[in-house]
């Protein structure tokens, strides 16, 4: 049976470990809990997470409509520009509060992560 055992290179094991650690960190997205010492940042994180959630919903809907041909070229351009600027704005504001894109998430308990 030893021939069946997977053989890995060290780099592959390290790469897999890094990916698992990254995913574990994402899975452990904290529940929102305002820190009295840093209320502004906590509120910003919550608000930006919700905005990002809505932005992603709108983006998926826009892509579905684009694929379905129910958006005119002008509408596609207009929606695309709006979503692009919204993404830039969310990132800019997040950066001002020292938040990374991965920070914009919430743990919803048994339902999993918001994003």
């Amino acid at each position: 049976m030893s021939a069946r055992r997977p053989v890995f290179e060290v780099r592959e094991v390290e790469s897999l470990r890094a990916e698992l650690e990254r995913q574990a960190a994402l899975a452990a997205a904290p529940r929102w809990n305002a820190d009295p010492e840093d209320v502004q940042r906590s509120v910003a994180r919550l608000v930006l997470t919700l905005v990002e959630f809505i932005r992603q919903l709108l983006e998926r809907q826009a892509i579905r409509r684009m694929e379905g041909g129910t958006l005119s070229p002008e509408e596609t351009e207009s929606v695309g520009v709006a979503l692009m600027r919204l993404e830039e704005t969310v990132r800019d504001i997040a950066a001002r509060f020292g938040l990374e894109p991965e920070d914009l998430n919430l743990d919803l308990g048994p339902l999993g992560r918001l994003l």
Partner: protein, 228 residues
């Protein structure tokens, strides 16, 4: 300090009661099999969920594997899933009963095999027609390509031909962090794992320059969206 009252820790949904004693769970708590919302749930009563470590993850897998013997379908819950009591569990499951029942049907009589795709660079993505238009149109087209690519693993093309009917369903996730390029989960019929591994090994040269490693069989962890 008052000890915390016990809560209900969900291990899995089952297609029916286990054929063996439920035994004990990861925290050495006695396990219970409860029928709720038309589903069969395997639960334990614990004050706190176990910490997610390699040891507790393996322990939970061992519990589930033991109880899955003789059961047609098992849908593992997300590790650490905890609810206040049986009533809260029933409410949570009742809301999602149709999708959970479908997920149980999907994994019935099946096990999961896992492939990792390794390489220094990803396969060249198929060319899409230029989106044209202005920056907004190009932005949306780019996002669309990103969504599509997130679940495509063209590196496995030659292997997929060999696996053919062995695979009932697939879940793919790209990582694109060399050397780890992608993870692909396949749902295969129970007992077909040996043939599956043979096919993967036989396709080694065909998938070059990428390398594929295989592990399993596992319980269908990647196919239990409903129970997560």
């Amino acid at each position: 300090m008052t000890p915390r009252a016990s809560r209900v820790y969900l291990y899995a949904l089952l297609s029916g009661p286990p054929v063996c004693e439920a035994g004990v769970g990861v925290c050495a708590e006695p396990l219970r099999v409860v029928a709720v919302a038309g589903l069969v749930a395997l639960v334990g009563d614990v004050a706190e969920p176990p910490a997610p470590t390699a040891i507790t993850l393996r322990a939970q897998d061992t519990v589930l594997r033991r109880l899955s013997a003789g059961i047609d379908a098992i849908l593992p819950a997300r590790f650490g899933t905890l609810v206040e009591n049986d009533m809260a569990l029933a409410e949570a499951l009742d809301r999602r009963r149709p999708e959970l029942a479908r997920a149980l049907d999907r994994v019935a009589g099946c096990e999961q095999m896992t492939l990792r795709v390794w390489g220094e660079c990803a396969a060249v993505a198929p060319r899409f027609e230029s989106a044209g238009g202005g920056p907004g149109t190009r932005y949306l087209a780019g996002r669309r390509r990103l969504h599509e690519r997130a679940h495509r693993v063209p590196e496995l093309g030659p292997l997929r031909q060999r696996l053919g009917d062995l695979v009932r369903e697939e879940r793919a996730e790209r990582h694109d962090r060399p050397p780890l390029l992608a993870t692909v989960q396949h749902l295969v019929e129970r007992g077909a794992g040996g043939r599956y591994v043979d096919e993967v090994h036989a396709a080694r040269e065909a998938v070059a320059p990428w390398r594929v490693s295989v592990s399993g069989p596992w319980l269908p962890y990647a196919f239990g969206e409903g129970a997560a």
